[in-house]
């Protein structure tokens, strides 16, 4: 599962006024990777998520997603890029309260130009993939926190994105639900989806094959070189997590 990186950052900086949120980040993510971007608040990981997700543009540097150089693209073109290649999972789910699980998931295809019938069919299939085939017609207020996040994940993967970005996906969940959601992300990764998890949870990060540790807008440590996979990387990661905990 190597080849051209699905995500590539080169010397990316982002400044807000005088504050440098990102100060020269270089990162490659290969297809099929499961990467944790970890760091305390203020480390620049949220800014990195915005830039990787093309929700915001870098001040300088190059961002390439699925072979597209983002800096040259218009706002409309970026929107289409997001529709085609990027799936988002948010800490607070952000589901439509009045809509059923299937309707929420189908919204993930609304801007990709898919016809309604196909959106609905694929939404049901996506819900089945995340183990919510029995919750298709439930509304968010009828679902537990973990189920809501799984609906949100289904919405993110319904369009078969090149990369799945998860922002603190377990941050609003209890331990058991969080473990289940993480297990789901791992399953999706096993199925071939490239996953980038942004978290401040070192333990969670340590359980993933590759960790990118952020501090003060820079990559402090990267446990993989873009091709990390398998048991060796996992062992390496566990060791790193111990090291990080030792730091603090």
């Amino acid at each position: 599962m190597s080849g051209q990186p699905v995500l590539s950052l080169r010397d990316v900086t982002k400044t807000y006024g005088d504050v440098g949120a990102l100060r020269g980040v270089t990162l490659d993510v290969a297809p099929g990777e499961l990467v944790a971007v970890v760091g305390p608040s203020g480390s620049g990981k949220s800014t990195m998520l915005n830039i990787v997700g093309t929700l915001d543009r870098p001040t300088s540097g190059t961002v390439t997603i699925a072979g597209n150089d983002v800096s040259a693209m218009s706002d409309d073109a970026l929107s289409l890029l997001r529709a085609d290649h990027i799936g988002f999972v948010f800490q607070h789910f952000h589901l439509q309260a009045g809509a059923t699980a299937a309707e929420n998931v189908a919204d993930g295809l609304l801007y990709a130009g898919t016809v309604r019938r196909e959106r609905q069919q694929r939404a049901v299939r996506a819900l089945e993939r995340v183990g919510l085939g029995h919750r298709v017609d439930h509304r968010p207020n009828q679902l537990s926190g973990g189920e809501k996040q799984r609906v949100a994940i289904a919405r993110a993967i319904v369009g078969d994105p090149t990369i799945l970005l998860a922002d603190e996906p377990t941050g609003a969940l209890d331990t058991a639900s969080g473990t289940a959601v993480l297990e789901l992300l791992r399953e999706l990764n096993t199925g071939g989806t490239t996953v980038l998890v942004i978290t401040h949870d070192l333990e969670l990060a340590a359980s993933l094959p590759r960790q990118v540790r952020m501090r003060d807008g820079e990559v402090e440590h990267d446990s993989g070189g873009g091709t990390a996979s398998g048991a060796a990387a996992a062992v390496d990661a566990a060791g790193l997590a111990l090291a990080i905990r030792g730091d603090r």
């Binding site: 409309d76 997001r82 009045g98």
Partner: protein
């Protein structure tokens, strides 16, 4: 990546309906202003049209080919019409039928002999030539028209208001009134005369009886029904026919014009009410804009999520614009229903036909679309400018 992908009209509509469906109380309150404005306009136009439709019905029934000749009212004495006026008029080719009345200045009529003389209740006595109600399109509520042949017994027909004042609503064998110092048999009671309302307060007697009351034999009004195709020509010749030497002393009017003019004077009032409806619409539009601005503020996270899912700025703009249009249009539909209802209740209550012009309904709904569009432009533009990062920033 295709650059032409759009969110279809059906999906936009679904998004708009969803946006409104999940906030029903707000929808009702902000659509109310529009509804009131549209209802006011539809009701005003509908009631006015129904009134016109009623008038048209009346004019259809009465005809617009009745002409009335009277002495010109002006400064000084205008000579009365000659006693031969009716005969002269009947000789004209364009005249289909004619009748005349003449005021009996000293004629007074009372319910019984014990009423003091000054209490005439404004009821006048007219001498009649020919079948006055037939020429004027009037009808008898009961009884028959007077027999004015020479030698006929004294008899009287009462105008509608005069009959009420004299306490005779229906002709019976013993229906009498005290007229000129004697009991006179009532032979008929008229229904209100739409084309000559001033006749409703009069009673009609044969000329023999009138003469015995001091009538000078000069008619004061000659009513003619003329060829409907030649009303204007007939109008020109009537005065000359009645008074060949001095046609300027005879005035010829068309009573149906007066009816139509009376209705036309209501138009200024209608304009005022439509203006008030317009103000209500304007305020309603501002209400919709206000609601949409607040909605957009509240839904920054939703916009952010949609941008993250791949929505372009125009998709967001369209979504909120459609929502605004729908909100306003819903108000418009409710207003039309309300306005039509008010019109029906009012018109039926008045015994009018219900007439609501299609242009008023279509115009009202069209106006709500324009209002919704204009009101939604600014909020939608604001929504489109919400940065995509809002989904992550909002908690």
């Amino acid at each position: 990546m295709s650059g032409r992908r759009t969110v279809g009209a059906g999906d936009l509509l679904r998004l708009g309906v969803f946006g409104l469906r999940t906030r029903p109380a707000r929808v009702v309150l902000s659509a109310l202003g529009i509804a009131i404005g549209i209802a006011a306009m539809i009701a005003v136009v509908g009631i006015s049209s129904s009134s016109k439709a009623r008038l048209d019905q009346v004019l259809d029934a009465l005809g617009t080919n009745v002409l009335t000749a009277t002495p010109v009212e002006g400064f000084g004495d205008s000579p009365p019409l000659p006693p031969t006026a009716l005969d002269s008029v009947l000789r004209q080719d364009d005249v289909e039928s004619a009748a005349a009345v003449g005021t009996v200045p000293d004629g007074h009529v009372y319910r019984n002999p014990f009423i003091p003389a000054p209490e005439t209740k404004g009821i006048g006595v007219l001498a009649a030539w020919g079948d006055v109600p037939e020429v004027l399109g009037g009808t008898l509520g009961s009884g028959r028209w007077i027999d004015d042949r020479a030698g006929a017994v004294p008899q009287v027909v009462l105008g509608a208001q005069a009959a009420r004042a004299l306490g005779v609503d229906h002709v019976r064998a013993d229906s009498r009134v005290w007229l000129g110092g004697q009991w006179v048999q009532v032979v008929g009671v008229l229904q209100p005369m739409q084309l000559a309302e001033d006749l409703d307060t009069q009673v009609f007697v044969p000329r023999d009886l009138a003469t015995s009351l001091g009538f000078d034999g000069a008619p004061t009004s000659v009513f003619t029904r003329v060829d409907p195709e030649r009303v204007e020509q007939a109008r020109d010749v009537l005065a000359g026919a009645i008074r060949p030497g001095a046609p300027q002393d005879v005035g010829v009017t068309r009573p149906s014009d007066a009816l139509a003019a009376k209705d036309a004077t209501d138009d200024s009032f209608t304009g005022l009410l439509v203006g008030i409806g317009g103000v209500a619409l304007l305020v309603g539009g501002i209400g919709v804009a206000n609601t949409m601005v607040i909605t957009v503020l509240e839904r920054r996270a939703e916009v952010g999520v949609r941008r993250a899912l791949g929505a372009r700025r125009r998709n967001i703009r369209d979504q909120f614009l459609v929502e605004s249009l729908l909100l306003s249009f819903l108000g418009g539909v409710a207003g039309v229903v309300l306005g039509v209802g008010v019109t029906i209740v009012f018109a039926v209550g008045q015994g009018w036909p219900v007439a609501i012009p299609v242009w008023a309904v279509a115009g009202g709904l069209g106006a709500t679309v324009v209002i919704g569009g204009v009101s939604g432009l600014y909020p939608a533009a604001r929504a489109a400018r919400i940065p995509p990062t809002s989904a992550l920033a909002a908690v």
